[in-house]
Amino acid sequence: MKQQIFTNEQVDLSTLPSADDLLYDGLEKNYRRLQYIISVCVTTIALIGMVVGFWMLDIPLWIALSSVGFWIIIGILKLVIITKGFEHKGYAIRTHDLVYKTGWLYKKQITVPFNRIQHVDIKQGILERRYRLSKLNLYTAGGASSDLTIPGINIEDAKRYKSFILGVMESDEEE
């Protein structure tokens, strides 16, 4: 139990495996498409609701036009954020951990070692099912803030990753 194989060795920091030069797998293109669709639908419904409301309440034209314009700009911005965000999302699986990076303006890179994972599950919503997408969730004991969710993975891939991770976790326990 208490072997500390590496503890007393002199460590050459430059030889440590680095999590920088990784080839990240991007998320499924369908994930971006789904986000586009959802975002366009939400904006459209909101705009229709707004136009109907303005028409019924007899709001002055310039207020109506400027608020519709404002929401159209917000909608376009949302599309830009989805596009840019998608480019920056990606994950990589290494022998001992999984790395997920995200963020266009606020960048994050989270690494979860397999020997700290409590359990793994796959979630799939109704819309996601239509595009064969799923979310892979990795839970650690670090609480909600350190749990990792990778969205937009093909369901078959997610299942493969899950069984791979479970395999590593099991072999870890046997040692």
Partner: protein, 494 residues
């Protein structure tokens, strides 16, 4: 100790009825008092009759309730489970496996002490609301249960660990607070926070009263206050010392109630904390379950060379704070002793120091100093109230604060341990063992990204520790080292 009695269904101590009764009365009174207040204020002919009725109802409901819930609560040990059946209207059956039980804590208020019974709180890992409590168990019964559970837990682990447990090291008292220590703690509490608590309490009280009486106490008060606007400065000058005195008195009483006769002991498996005047609480922590040790001080406490020590155990997120062992008055040798117990040999190790980038100071002054001052100036210009320009007096202070923040925020790294420090006027250190980390995050705001800086966040099973404004290259190196240590270590983190 009749051990056999643990294995068949049984009730709590008969005194539990009294304790449940008191709990219920307290609960009912909390619900009922606004109604009672309305009746008293509105008066009427039948005032006395109503009051008698209310009191009778409260007594009747709580008495029958407590007797039934006492009769309906049974527990026993069934295999490797603790089996509990309870419930007035809805029967609940609980089966708690011993291996899931994290802590067994005792608590005694005045009534408990009178009858020599204890309240037992059992926390099992995992989901929310996993806390089970017994209102009152006889002292020896409670100890028998705790010993049994701990023994069962130990035998579940590998034989190696069980030997560890049996090699009972002698208990050793680390901290014992004297009355003078309590006074020092009382003086050096955060009085601004106390002010918040007092204010919040008064506000809630007034809100309750004004709802109950259907009149606005706030309006009444502000009406009165407006009459004194001219003398407000003088009032302030009087109010500040008066307020400080009240706050000091309040914190002193609170400190004495909570920390009276506090004993922080090293036990064979970890630590134990017993404290309290009216309510004696006992908390324990297993050495392996401690994930973070934090010690902090503030300017006044620094004068006494005192620190506030906290040991954080692995727990479900919503109760991490409650499970922490907190010793408010600790001197340096006692902290060293605690650290050495949890991290053997840590006294001799040398840490590598990593400061944060000087741009952090600039950002601090910008966001905490310049922007608020500019905002006040803008308001001053708009409202034509030029006295708001006095806010600029705060600007030099913010520069000093920025400098302090920059100097105190640092990371100390050793091959096995890590200390993150922070603070402006006070200082706080958090120490943890690297292999106990759960995951590591690097993050960069747009500004940090442009300046090639990053924040490193380290997650553990009892909260996270982070260090901002580290040059990206160094941050990556730290991340790679931490991950390598986590992944190559075969020890369990708990």
């Amino acid at each position: 100790m009749k051990k056999s009695s643990l294995f068949k269904p049984q009730r709590q101590s008969i005194f539990a009825i009294i304790l449940i009764l008191l709990k219920m009365i307290r609960l009912l009174v909390k619900q009922v008092w606004p109604v009672a207040l309305i009746i008293v204020v509105n008066g009427g002919d039948n005032l006395q009759l109503y009051l008698v009725l209310i009191v009778a109802a409260v007594v009747f409901f709580s008495l029958t309730g407590s007797i039934i819930s006492y009769l309906k609560f049974t527990y026993y040990i069934k295999g490797d489970h603790l089996h509990i059946e309870k419930g007035l209207l809805r029967r609940t059956t609980l089966d708690v496996p011993f291996e899931r039980i994290q802590t067994v804590d005792f608590e005694q208020n005045v009534v408990h002490q009178l009858f020599n019974v204890v309240r037992v709180n059992i926390d099992s890992a995992g989901s929310k609301g996993s806390e089970i409590s017994f209102d009152a168990l006889e002292m020896n019964q409670a100890q028998a249960i705790r010993d049994f559970i701990l023994a069962q837990k130990a035998s579940h682990k590998s034989s190696e660990d069980a030997e560890d447990v049996q090699q009972a090291e002698p208990e050793e008292l680390i901290v014992h607070l004297s009355m003078w220590d309590l006074v020092k703690i009382g003086i050096s509490q955060n009085h601004l926070r106390t002010a918040g608590i007092i204010f919040g309490f008064m506000w809630a009280l007034m809100d309750n009263v004004s709802q109950a009486l259907d009149m606005d106490v706030f309006d009444l008060l502000t009406d009165k206050a407006e009459a004194f606007v001219m003398g407000s400065i003088i009032m302030g000058l009087i109010a500040i010392p008066v307020f400080l005195f009240i706050s000091f008195l309040y914190t002193l009483i609170r400190t004495v109630l909570r920390d009276y006769d506090l004993k922080f002991t090293k036990t064979s498996s970890g630590f134990k904390l017993v404290s309290g005047l009216l309510t004696r609480k006992e908390k324990s922590a297993h050495k392996n379950k401690i994930q973070i040790i934090a010690w902090s001080t503030n300017p006044i406490r620094q004068l006494f060379k005192m620190y506030h020590l906290k040991l954080y155990q692995a727990a479900s997120v919503d109760i991490i704070g409650g499970k922490a062992i907190s010793v408010p008055g600790c001197y340096q040798p006692q902290i060293d002793k605690t650290l050495n117990t949890v991290f053997p040999g840590v006294g001799e190790v040398v840490f590598e120091q990593h400061g944060i980038h000087p741009l952090a100071r600039f950002r601090f002054i910008l966001f905490a100093g310049l922007f608020p001052c500019l905002m006040f100036s803008a308001v001053a210009l708009l409202a034509q109230n030029y006295s708001l320009f006095w806010a600029w007096l705060y600007f030099p202070l913010s520069i000093v604060m920025g400098q302090l923040y920059f100097r105190k925020r640092k990371l100390q790294l050793h091959q096995d341990y890590l200390i993150a420090s922070s603070g402006i006027f006070g200082t706080k250190h958090k120490m943890l063992e690297i292999y106990k980390m759960q995951s590591v995050k690097l993050s960069q705001s747009f500004y940090q990204w442009r300046k090639d800086l990053a924040t490193v966040t380290m997650y553990t099973a009892s909260g996270d520790v982070s260090i901002p404004f580290i040059p990206i290259g160094k941050a990556q190196e730290i991340r790679d080292y931490l991950l390598w240590r986590i992944e190559s270590d075969r020890r369990g983190w708990m």
